[in-house]
């Protein structure tokens, strides 16, 4: 058991000693500050993105009509609700199934089996959004329409939102439910990977001392491992949620893209991200009042970016370390 099981944390980043020679204090200060110029490029780009978006807004638009359900007057609340309505259930599914897969892989599967199934989960995250969308639109949507919706309306109608009062308006099978399922599949690898890494980082001693007390593997997992990984699990939830909120083209293709509040899970709606891509065509058109749509999209983009930044900062703070390069989580 020689190498550490988790990637080494960045070690003491002492600056390299300056080569011997005459070095005034000015030069020393320069030496210390200079590396920050390339190191802060990500921050600079992030700030640039915010500034460009801010500059493209019309601040007077951030008024009452902006924070309303009136889509015709560029109210955004329908899209905010649409985003949450799809992302939250997708996240709940991805956390539940993700935890099950992570426990299976980290606790129950023999190593050789896990090394066969893990790549499937990783690969799931590599599939481009647009391919998910295509598959969802042409394969899953007709299947849902023909087989799944009749079943759920018959047997699950007691769940609020599952009873059908009309069929999916677009007639293609696109629906809130389909968007949730596709989003779930897209963020499943994110949550699974992060939780799997957290579970694998449990010290061997701690795991064994649970078993040595006469606990079963399940009992140690539930009573020791999961409390031990609490932060990592919350971090996975935040990062998965950020992913789901930002998903654009796949959601557009399976949600029906109609700006209205859904009345049940077979209905169509729209999300913030999918609206941006849907409206870009009109953004190119300069009307008599200038790039009106463009201002709106920049404003909507700022709201979306604010949410994803908040969620990501929280998630990163909880996880502290980046374990996972695969899948770019």
């Amino acid at each position: 058991m020689s190498p550490p099981s988790s990637p080494p944390t960045p070690q003491d980043g002492q600056p390299l000693p300056a080569p011997p020679g005459p070095s005034s204090s000015n030069l020393g200060a320069l030496r210390r500050i200079l590396p920050y110029i390339p190191a802060l490029i990500p921050l600079a780009i992030t700030v640039a993105i915010v500034l460009v978006l801010v500059q493209a807004t019309h601040f007077e638009n951030f008024g009452r009509s902006f924070w309303s359900f009136n889509a015709a007057q560029n109210g955004i609340l329908i899209y905010v609700v649409g985003s949450f309505l799809t992302s939250v259930p997708a996240l709940a599914l991805a956390m539940g199934i993700g935890l099950a897969v992570a426990i299976a892989s980290a606790v129950y599967m023999p190593g050789w089996l896990a090394s066969w199934t893990d790549p499937f989960v990783d690969l799931l995250s590599g599939i481009p959004s647009i391919v998910y969308g295509l598959w969802g639109y042409f394969v899953v949507a007709p299947y849902f329409k023909a087989d799944v919706y009749p079943w759920t309306t018959t047997y699950l109608a007691w769940i609020p939102g599952f009873a059908a009062n009309r069929t999916s308006p677009s007639g293609t099978g696109a629906s809130v439910m389909l968007a949730i399922v596709i989003l779930f599949l897209m963020i499943l690898p994110v949550t699974t990977l992060l939780m799997r890494d957290a579970l694998r980082s449990i010290p061997k001693d701690l795991w064994e001392s649970g078993l040595a007390l006469g606990a079963t593997r399940w009992e140690v997992t539930r009573r020791v491992s999961i409390p031990y990984c609490r932060r990592g699990i919350w971090g996975a939830a935040f990062l998965g949620f950020g992913r789901a909120m930002g998903e654009t083209v796949a959601v557009f293709m399976v949600i029906g893209q109609i700006p209205r509040l859904p009345t049940n899970i077979y209905d169509n709606t729209s999300t913030m991200a999918s609206l941006i891509i849907a409206e870009v065509d009109t953004a190119f058109e300069k009307s008599s009042v200038g790039y009106q749509t463009l201002h709106f999209l920049a404003e909507l983009g700022l709201v979306l970016m604010g949410i994803s930044l908040a969620v990501n900062v929280a998630g990163r703070w909880l996880i502290r370390r980046t374990f996972t390069e695969v899948a770019g989580v």
Partner: protein, 304 residues
Amino acid sequence: MSGTALAAPALAASDDLRRDRSGGVWRRTWFDRIVGWALPLTVLVAVIPILDLAYWICVRALPSFTLATLTTNPSGAGGGLYAPLVGTLEILLLATTTAVAFGLIGGLVTAEYLDEAGAGVVRVTANVMAGIPSIIVGLFGFLAFVLAFGWGASLAAAGVTLGVFMTPYVFRATDLAYASIPPHIREAALGSGARPIQYLLRVATPIALPQVLSGVFLAMAIGVGETAPLYLTTSAAAIPPSGLFVPAGALSLYIWEDFQNPLPGAVHIAFEAAFLLLVIVVGLNVLVRLIGQRARRRLEGLFQ
């Protein structure tokens, strides 16, 4: 009690390993076993969709997929995918160049030249940037490059925008690669009289390079499938780009443009493009895995 004849005749129930059923041992053990069988089955939730997706993309793309698909330009709702394929590769080349230019040096100095507190802050910013949705980056590219810089919908705007999106992945991979070199290697190198720059070029870089490369390939795999940033910064041109400032088509754009096109040939084009895209993405991911595994094994060797 048959097998325990050697023991004292009066073995208390709590000392009898076989008869002991206290505290629901039987129930607890069986529950654990059932969980052990049931939980691995949940992996099917990930495996079945991926197989189904691969199956349907192949079934709908391959019958019409010929060599001509790769060598002819699209025309109307038919033709091949030569232009978008070339466009994808050119956009990806430009994007990778941009991302490496922005991310590589930054990641390197973060790992090698910043103190712990500074590096911590920088890492947070890189992680936060990695969380910006691609549609936002696309909107930024549209506002900045297409409109403000006046590049129009073009290869340049698409490449740089996608490069901005890929930057944090390259940055983090480089940082991680250099930061995970064990400290004793650096101490040994500097202790034996190597100058810092010699350590960096002759010792650290050969160790870190495979991991950096695998990070770059990963960024490419993530970038190549992106649609939203490209849709906002270029358009689905039917011929390969003749310069930086003309539109360049891309595979993902063709899927996007064609999936709702009622003409019968259009859907074929979409599936063929999806098939090509999947091949590229899976190929890049396999590359990431192979290089990453070798890099890890080498790094583990250094810890012994």
